[in-house]
Symmetry: C2
Subunit: 757 residues, 2 copies
Amino acid sequence: MSWLVQDKIYEDNKVLLKNESLFNVSNGYIGVRGNFEEGYEAGFDTIRGTYLNAFYEVEPITYGEKLYGFPDTKQKILNVIDSQTIHLYIEGEYFSLHQGEVLDFTRTLDMKEGSVTRSIHWRSPKGHEVKITIERLASFNTLELFLIRYTVEAVNFDGEIKFLSSVDGDIVNYTDETDPRTGGGHGKCYEQYDAKVVENMIQVSTTTIHSKLKATCTCHHHLNETCELNFEKHERKVTAIISTDIERSQKITLTKYNVYTDDRRHERPEEDGKELLKKVIYREFDFYLDEQIQYLKKFWKSADITIQGDEDLQQGIHYNVYQLLQSVGKDKYSNIAAKGMSGEGYEGHYFWDTEIYIFPFFLLTQPELAKKLLIYRHSILDGARNRAKEMGHERGALYPWRTINGDECSPFFPAGTAQYHINADIAYAVIQYYMITRDTEFMIHYGAEILFETARLWADIGHFHHNQFMIHSVTGPDEYTCVVDNNYYTNVMAKHNLKWAYKMYELLKDQSNHMTTIIESMELTKEEVEKWQKAYENMYLPYDKALGINPQDDTFLTKKIWEISSIPKNKFPLLLNYHPLLIYRYQICKQADTVLAHFLLEDEQGYETIEKSYHYYENITTHDSSLSFGVFSIMAAKVGEEQKAYDYFMKSARLDLDDHHGNTKHGIHTANMGGTYLGIVYGFGGLRIKEDIASLNPKKPSKWQEYAFKFIYQGRLVKVIVKENRIEILLEEGEALDIKVYEKVYTLESKLHIDLA
Amino acid sequence: MSWLVQDKIYEDNKVLLKNESLFNVSNGYIGVRGNFEEGYEAGFDTIRGTYLNAFYEVEPITYGEKLYGFPDTKQKILNVIDSQTIHLYIEGEYFSLHQGEVLDFTRTLDMKEGSVTRSIHWRSPKGHEVKITIERLASFNTLELFLIRYTVEAVNFDGEIKFLSSVDGDIVNYTDETDPRTGGGHGKCYEQYDAKVVENMIQVSTTTIHSKLKATCTCHHHLNETCELNFEKHERKVTAIISTDIERSQKITLTKYNVYTDDRRHERPEEDGKELLKKVIYREFDFYLDEQIQYLKKFWKSADITIQGDEDLQQGIHYNVYQLLQSVGKDKYSNIAAKGMSGEGYEGHYFWDTEIYIFPFFLLTQPELAKKLLIYRHSILDGARNRAKEMGHERGALYPWRTINGDECSPFFPAGTAQYHINADIAYAVIQYYMITRDTEFMIHYGAEILFETARLWADIGHFHHNQFMIHSVTGPDEYTCVVDNNYYTNVMAKHNLKWAYKMYELLKDQSNHMTTIIESMELTKEEVEKWQKAYENMYLPYDKALGINPQDDTFLTKKIWEISSIPKNKFPLLLNYHPLLIYRYQICKQADTVLAHFLLEDEQGYETIEKSYHYYENITTHDSSLSFGVFSIMAAKVGEEQKAYDYFMKSARLDLDDHHGNTKHGIHTANMGGTYLGIVYGFGGLRIKEDIASLNPKKPSKWQEYAFKFIYQGRLVKVIVKENRIEILLEEGEALDIKVYEKVYTLESKLHIDLA
């Protein structure tokens, strides 16, 4: 059952809200929350949502005190045209789970099929008994297509059934003024609406007020029996009224084909939508379901992780990996939002989460999708160059802390724009991509330019003090201290960035006309590149002799300690319960910061420093960010804290399924899901991708009988099975390669095994 | 002429705007900008304003991202009912300086009379020639009274003249979204208006939307000739229409008595206004003018400073001192706004400017007014206690960075709430007050409690690290580095605060029942007070051996230097042209910070450290704050840089009169005005008030023939005259006292002189 997620709740508002997120049906372009087609009764909260990745509105940001360079506007992902709604009338009685009698109710997400199904057995107040099956899918092959198949079986009656199925442009975004993690302001974002019926297709279009983006939903209904079809047209909405007769034991099936188009991707959203719809309606639901199955078969071939001995965990891992696939943008306009396509939390913005927590999964299992993610970053490079200028830098690019279209959206700079490390995070992903793929073409066309521009920024922001290269006034990953000097994470990641920019320049500078063009257009000179070299060779990395650890920043270790055990449980997360200044005053961390740096760049410090740092920071980390557990699990595994590694890992693996943070209703936590993957592959598996070789250092949690994962490395698909006393490594695709296991190099031809003592 | 400020400009919009501020008529309760009674023509900008000190509206603060403890609302001073407006018609022709011919125009502020007069000789388009004299005063004796005397002389005609004089409640505040130093949002703040005529008095009342405060203006017109009086009543405004005949060479005089009341000070603003008005109209304008003269005579007796050899400077000094008197709040509800009563800049908020830059002037010349300022701070102590709790402190009080009613109004905490030093600044003022007055009663009833609660906060925020008491994550006076660790200024001022809280506790703890009650209600124990002692005795004061200076904070000296000469002139002030993060990254100061600490607490460091620090910081200070020049002048004088001392002083002395910062239109710079006084008395005069004695160390700028100032010390009025080769010290009032001059102690009986080599 680890391939299914099931739930039988239909009356508990809190669970329903959470399940709206959990049972989202998405393909990286369209995302539809798991709202009931028929809606809920009055008194139920719902966040009814359909989203198109990177389809946004621009809104002004208001400040109590606006200083120079504060962004004037932000983008936010939009709730778009609702095509979920289908009301069913049985002999005139409205179908609702809150009326009559529910004899059975199951909602199932099938992660091999790529669909969500609701199966309902219901008796109406007047005694009409029906079995209803509602299936949904967002096609991975045709990204514009969202399908609903609605089947009704009359159990104990003959009579009339009627569907009122609508496509509705009159929708708003969810707002909550009191929670900084959701959107504020009013939810209304559209100024133009067009709703019509053309050739028996419903077509609704909406245009936003500020960004002037247009979205269209074109919809066709197909009933497997003859029926009467009428349309009720409103200004912003069209409802199809479909009536037919049903006999006892007969099944009536309505298929609703919804094609979404928008003018970021489609030159003529309405015409393109119509044309595409006309093509897709020649096939039935089963065809698309089969396509999903084939697509997912290929996906799981490299992405699957198996754990023997813990079914719940196995399910959690399948779920997380599946959601990453559902969330990932598949074109250059889009990326992975903090909440995927499952909700409006964090306003649909893209953060560093992508590169550091999620990208490795795609890189190791679906490198083509990983490449698309980097191409997105390249597509917003001009915006980042402009932002760097706004921020007063003479050259270079500064990636926005949070964005959709490339413009900075962060209104609170100490925990936003100040996180310059995003530049190095993106560079790190580019470098990792290169190490794994050796894709020189990519580097010439995209990667090198990113490395150069980010390196430039480090050269501009830093300076030499006593012959060491220092970086002041930035915020590291840990937002519980902001705007600090020489944040270890930032400095060491900048060093890596500068070093690889230098290397790539040396490697590629004479490689192609395109590279020459880029170098010339950037006015990049040998002298400038040598400054990068000087900077990374002399990068200051704070180290405290007395403690034997890397301090998080220059003054971190002189602050007071705040005993975490002394803080009341209801005061977490701290940022929602204490003024930031109070928090800044303590040695207390929201999440892994130095510890994360030790994971990403383990060769920069000796083992002892890494181990001591792990223990030091573990004591003062609240894990108030869902990004934290995964990293601590990995590093616990590294320093031999196997129980800890397991405990941290388990907190991350089912975070959304079990709603550990209580906010899954606003959407799933995609970065945490990536963290789960990292926890197994980098943590327990001990995988590291270095410049010369991939290495493994597998450890097995004692609760698991065995586990296995796969990864793609330089064209090979490698499977690793970790058993009680044996490691098996299989080369599933590609040519033989050298691989390091427990510090020893083996040549993997088709299979090798290592027996442990 | 140094007692007058005159201007002949009536057509240059920019100058008029500036002059609206310069020629404000205020008494610390009422403030009326120097707008023309008749208004300007279309196309002219104006900030037409009348203010009541501490009469405010509350407005929500909106944030792009609101974190815990960010203030929900702010107060802003309100433009209140306009009683300035008087339109004059001569034989039906409207008097305006933009029509007809202006034969003469002079506007004069007389600082001995306490009034502003416009003298106009005007020929109408049809050739009617008139001489007009308009005098205004805001009574220092009857704070509610604002008077206008409007005299018209017919030069070349007989005919009818008509006044349309209104009292208008329909006014809004000035807003400018693009400048953080002015108010934003819409300007509308009233929800209720009442305009009526009672017993031939006009009475207009307005009530604010959120703060629910009520202001009333009650107005009576008196003409020196028989006239026809009619009223035109509107919903929010009443206009008196006064017609009479005039003969060639005759003078007609209209006196407009305006009494302002508000329900912060007056239980029944309307009734109280009426009663008060009835009293004041029994006297003519000349009576009140004479009262002003007497009041000012007394004021100047202790406040005057004379400079021989520079008339412009002498005028600047008179102006600054006079404006301080006009600005200072004279009841417990009010203080001194950053722009005095002359404009809406900084929203009428009270800052630390009062205690550090302005308070010394009142303390040394008008100690009763100084005491009122401290009583205001005591009156908002409960609010400060609450704010401390909000900020997560277990005990103590945290004064708001900017406020009117005691609640924090600062929306940008790094340069607002983080400036915890405001606590020590207020404590410093209390301590200075005590040193000068030995007013034990005041300390028992007000001062000690302030010292105790502020000391508590330091004990709470700081902690011991390697046996030194440290204070993290605060912002010092220099807003070009924010949220730093161990800011020298903050630490040394906190030390002073803790030390005197300890001393006062020891001195007063058994002195009176009232003291006992306070100590008990505070649950203050010997143990807690001993913690204060331990904290101040071990206060960490950063010192850099290599440079021999006190670093501004823990990491300041490791930052890069930004050559000030390399910055384009149009990029100042930096904060309006660069993102704060960029600025934070440099060793660059907006204003005196460590240098200010060395002035306030000179005994904490040796002379050499002070001197080196002065030179170090001078190189990296932009003086983007008007608070800076005065302090640099004082310290330049101390370290023997006499030319520098003079140059800095001159930049501050006529800052508003010459509109050096180009923003006098938003109001005068009261703190800078206080700084001018400090520059002479503390800078050139070298006055210091220590616990045991007052000391002088006079230096004379070579451009001055001689200068003289006075100060009140422990009940004595002392006059100091500094001549070319001779210092004369006169005891003008009080008993003999010891005084230190050039490090030598003298006993001053009635007069002493010191001849210099």
